[in-house]
Symmetry: D2
Subunit: 316 residues, 4 copies
C-alpha cells in the first residue's frame, strides 16, 4: 500500500511537471546547464539569450529556442532568469511588464547573484503588473553544480510560489531552502559567499604563518580539521585546489568580489558595522588589483605569499 | 585470528603502559581530568599542584600525591605539564634542571597553551641538561574533552619521543597529530584557535546582517551549512550554544584571547602581515573590555548586538 | 597710486557684482547663511526652500523670496544650491530642465556635499539642455564658516565658469580652490573629511593609550603638536572641543558619516583598496549605532572610552 | 632691572653648564650629532661606541674618547645614551651597576626609541643601585634635527632630574616637554610616531583615490591643507619628499616600524583596542615585506601604488 501510494504520488508529480511550461532567459555558464537539466527532465523549456551560440547549446540539449525574451516566457508557468546583475533582471522585468509579455500569475525564479533591495523592487513591480511571483534564488555550487543538477538554493519570497516551482527546481538543485521574505535569498547567498571569502583569507593568513615556522601544510590542515578551526575552506577548497597549485575550482575573482560587494552594499544600506568582513573585502580588492578579474578566486593567496616569502603547497 | 592478534597487541600495549610511570604537574580545569584519565588506565601517576584541593581531587581519582614538583616527576618516564603560561613551564624547567630533579631521557609532554619560541628554548635546555625530550602539545577540546579523554592534540618536537609517549597520551587524547619540529605544536594550536575566533566573529557579522533583514537564524544557518560558508562555528558552536542564549560551551574569553595573543606575538616575531586576524583580535579585545575576562568566549557577540539592535537567537 | 588703483579695481568688482543676479535653492543650516551673505553684499538674491521659515529667515536678511525653485532661478546669472544629497540636486536639475526653467548659460554652484559621479551626470545634463555650467563645490567650515563668509571651497568643473562665479562666491568663501574637472570638487571634499575622520579616530586611539599610562592629555597633545604626529585634530579640534567635554564644534555624526560614505562609494566605484579608511568608517558606524545620528561628530570618542576606562579630558 | 637679572641667570646657567660633565654612550646617526653639539657648547663630553669610527667622528668634533662605556660615564653628572633598543640600554645599566661604574646621583638621559616598561625597570634599578635618575627621552626630528640641535624631546621621569639635565639638553633639543612619570617619554614618542604613520597611510589612501579621479596632487594637497584634513604629512612630508619621488626625508622603514611596534606592544600590555592603528601597522608590515627594511619610510606608498595604477607625484 505504501508502495502503491508512492507510485500514485510519483505519477501526479510527473504529470504536474509535464504540464509545467518553463521559460528560461540567460544562458551563461550557469544558466545553460540549468536549462539543459530542466529540459532533460521532460519539462518543455523555451529559452533565450543575447548570444546565439548559447541558444544553440541549449537547443542541442532539448530546449526550444525563442526569438526574444518575451518569446521565451510566453505561456510559461515558471520563468527562470540567470543574468549578470540585478539591474539586468530589473530591466527585463520593466520591458516584459511594459510589453504585457509576462504571463499572469507565473512564478519567476531569479538565480542571478542579485542585490536584495533590487529584488524587492522587482517582486513588487511584477506582482502589481500581473500577479507574478518573484523569487530571489541565490545558488551555490558553480558551473559544475549546475551541470550536475546539484546546486544549493537559498530562496526569498512567498512560500506558496516556491512550492509551485519546487518540482522544476528539483531538476537543477539538490537542496532548496526557503530563507525568508523577498530579498532574503540574495542576502543569504551573498553573506554565505562573504563568509566563504573570509574563511579563505583568514586560513591563508594562518597557514602562511605556520608555513614560515616550518610546519608542513598537509599536517597543519589535518590538525586544524581535527580541531575547532575547520571550515569548508580548510576541509575542501585548500586541500583540493591550492596545495597542488592548480587553482582549479573554477570561480573567478571578480565574481567572488561581486558577491562580497552585494554584502558590502547591504551593510551600507542598514548601517551595520562589520570591520572584519570589510577588511576581507579590501584584501580581495587588493587581490583583483594585483591578479586581474579573471584570476581564480583561490589565487588571492598570492597577494600574501608575495609578501611573506612562503607558499601554501604540498611538502616537497 | 584477527581477534587473537588484536588481543596480543592489546596485551603488549597494556604491559608497556603498566611499566610506564607518569609525573603530572598542574591540575587545573584541564590537567586534573587528564591526570585522572591516565591513572584510570592503570598507569602509575604521581601529581603535584600549588593547590592542595587540586591534588586531593586527583588523589581521589587514583593518582599519588607528591610534596612538590620534583617529587611528582621523580622516576617518571613521561612527564606531563598543564600550566597557565609558557613562562611558568620555563620556570619549572629551570628549577628542575637546577635541582637535578628531571629524570634522565624522560619525555615531557607540555599541554600548556604555550608560546612557540619559549617552547623551543625549553626543548633545548632540558635536552642539554639530561637528554629529556620536550614535546609542545597543543590540545583542543576544553575541560569536557579532557574529562572524556577525547582531546585533539597537535604535537611539536621529536617523532621518536612522541612515539614513546603515545600510549599514555592515548588515555586522554582521541586524536594526536605530529605537526612538526619543536614549537610547531603550540603554533598550530594557537593558529587553530585564532581561526576559530575569526570564524566566530565573521559569522556574527554576517548573521546579524541577515537578522536585521528579517531572516530567521536557524534558516540562515541551515542554508550556509548546506552551502560554502560553513565552519565548525556555523555547524556546531552557534547552533548549540548561542541560539539558545545559554552561552554554555565553557571556554572563557580571556583564555581565547590568550591563544589569539600567542598568534599575534608569532606574527610580530616573523614580521608577517595578517590584517584580518589582527582586526579579529581587536574585536575580541573590545569584547573583553566590555564583558570582562570571564565571559564565555561566544558572548563576544554582545559587542556587535549592542550596536546593531538585532540578536542571534531562535525565532520566537 | 597703489591706493587709487585698488579703488578702481574695487569699483569694477562692485559694479560687476551689482550686475550679477543670484538664485539660491536650499536654505538649511549652511544655505541660509550663504544666501544672507550674498544678499548683504548688495547682489540681488532670490531664494526658495521647502520650509517657509527658512525663506522668511533669508528674506529678513535681504533676499527676495520666490514661490518655487523655478521662480528662484528665473533670470539668474549664478544659481546656488545647498541641498541634502546629490540625488536631490539631480531631481531639481531634471525638473528645471523639463520645465525649461534653467537660465541659458548660467553658472550653477552646487555646495551640497555631493557624490562625484552624480555631479558628473548633472554637469552633462544641464550643459546639453541650455549651456548651463555646473560646478560641484565642496565646502568646509560648517555653519559658523558659512555665517562668517569664511568657507573653504573645493571646486570641480570648468575654470571659466568658476571665474564667472568667483566674485559672488567671494562673499561666502574665504578660500576657493579649483581642484579639477567635474566631480573633483565633491571628491576632494569627501576625501578631506574622511582624512579628518581618520585623524580623529587614530588620535583617539593613541591618546587614550597614553591616558591609560598616566600621561596628562594637555601634555601629550603639546608634545605631539611639537613633533611629527600633529594634525588639525590634535592642534584644534581635540584641545578646543573635547578636553572640556563640551563637544561643541557643531558637526553632527550623521553628516560626517555621509561624507565618509561618499568616499566609500567612490572607493567601490574605482575598485581602490583602502583598508585603513574602511576601518575608520566602521568605527564611525559603530559610533552612530551607539550614540545616534545627532551626536556631535567628536563624541565618537565615547565608543572607545567606554571600552578602555580612560577619558580624553583636562587633568583634574 | 629685568635685563640685569636676566644677565645674572645667564651667567649662573653658563657657569652651571661649564661645571657639568657629560658621558655619552652610543654614537650612531643620532648620537654622534648630539654628542658633537654638546661638546661644541663647551661642556666636557666623554664618549664611547662599539665602532671606533664613530668615536673618531665625535673626537673630531671636540669630544674625549673613552676605552669603554664605564670610562665614558666615569665622573659624569649627566649620562646620555642613544642605543638601538631598550634591551641594549638595560644590558648597559646592568653592566654599569654590576661594575659600580655608574656615578652616584647622576642623571641619565636615554634618547633611545625605547619601550615604556623596560624604561620603568631601568629607572628602578639605577635608582636603587646609586641614586641615579633615569629619564626616558623620546626624541623627534631625525638625524637632521640632531645635527641642527633642534630635536623635539618628550621626557618621562622625575621633574627635578629633568631640571638638572635641561641646560645640557638645550644644546641638542629645541623643545623639551616633560610628559609624565617614568616610561611616559618613550610612550609619547612611540604614539607620536604611530600617529605619524597613520597620517601617512590614510593620506596615501585618500590621495591615490583622488589621483585615480584625475585630481592633480598639488591641487588636492592645497585644498586639504586649506581645509580640515590637514596634518604634518599633508603639509610637509608629502609635498617635500614624495611629490618629487625623491623620498629623501631620511628615516628608514624599519625604524618607523620599530616605533609603531613599541605602540603595538603597549596596546598588548594594557589590553587597549585600537583597530585603526593595528591596520596601519599591518600596512607598514606589508611595506617592509615588499620594499625591505632600509626603504625610506615614505616609500610605503609604493605598496598601494602598485595596486591601483596611480602615483602621488607632481603633475606632468
Amino acid at each position: 500500500m505504501m508502495r502503491s501510494s508512492l507510485a500514485r504520488v510519483s505519477r501526479q508529480l510527473s504529470s504536474r511537471q509535464l504540464s509545467t511550461k518553463v521559460g528560461f532567459v540567460g544562458l551563461g555558464a550557469m544558466g545553460r546547464h540549468m536549462a539543459a537539466n530542466i529540459a532533460a527532465s521532460g519539462t518543455p523549456t523555451t529559452v533565450w539569450d543575447m548570444s546565439g551560440d548559447a541558444v544553440d547549446f541549449a537547443v542541442g540539449k532539448g530546449c526550444a529556442g525563442a526569438a526574444d525574451a518575451a518569446g521565451a516566457v510566453a505561456g510559461a508557468d515558471v520563468v527562470f532568469t540567470s543574468l549578470p546583475r540585478s539591474v539586468d533582471v530589473e530591466a527585463l522585468a520593466d520591458a516584459l511588464v511594459a510589453a504585457g509579455a509576462l504571463p499572469k500569475n507565473c512564478v519567476w525564479v531569479d538565480t542571478t547573484s542579485g542585490v536584495p533591495d533590487v529584488s524587492q523592487r522587482i517582486y513588487a513591480k511584477v506582482a502589481d503588473a500581473c500577479g507574478a511571483k518573484f523569487l530571489d534564488c541565490g545558488v551555490a555550487g558553480g558551473p559544475k553544480g549546475a551541470e550536475a543538477g546539484a546546486l544549493a538554493a537559498m530562496v526569498g519570497g512567498d512560500a506558496d510560489a516556491l512550492e509551485t516551482a519546487s518540482p522544476v527546481m528539483a531538476h537543477v538543485m539538490g537542496k532548496v531552502v526557503h530563507v525568508g521574505p523577498s530579498g532574503a535569498g540574495h542576502a543569504v547567498k551573498s553573506v554565505n559567499n562573504t563568509l566563504l571569502a573570509a574563511h579563505i583569507w583568514v586560513a591563508y593568513e594562518g597557514l602562511l604563518t605556520l608555513a614560515k615556522l616550518g610546519v608542513p601544510m598537509e599536517t597543519a590542515l589535518a590538525a586544524i580539521n581535527a580541531a575547532s578551526g575547520r571550515s569548508l575552506v580548510t576541509e575542501e577548497r585548500i586541500p583540493n585546489h591550492v596545495l597542488s597549485r592548480e587553482f582549479d575550482f573554477g570561480f573567478a575573482l571578480d565574481l567572488m568580489r561581486k558577491d562580497i560587494g552585494i554584502t558590502m552594499d547591504t551593510l551600507d544600506a542598514i548601517d551595520m558595522p562589520a570591520p572584519a568582513l570589510r577588511v576581507v573585502n579590501e584584501m580581495f580588492c587588493m587581490g583583483e588589483a594585483k591578479l586581474g578579474p579573471k584570476a581564480e578566486h583561490m589565487e588571492v593567496v598570492k597577494v600574501l605569499e608575495d609578501m611573506c616569502g612562503a607558499q601554501i603547497k604540498k611538502a616537497d
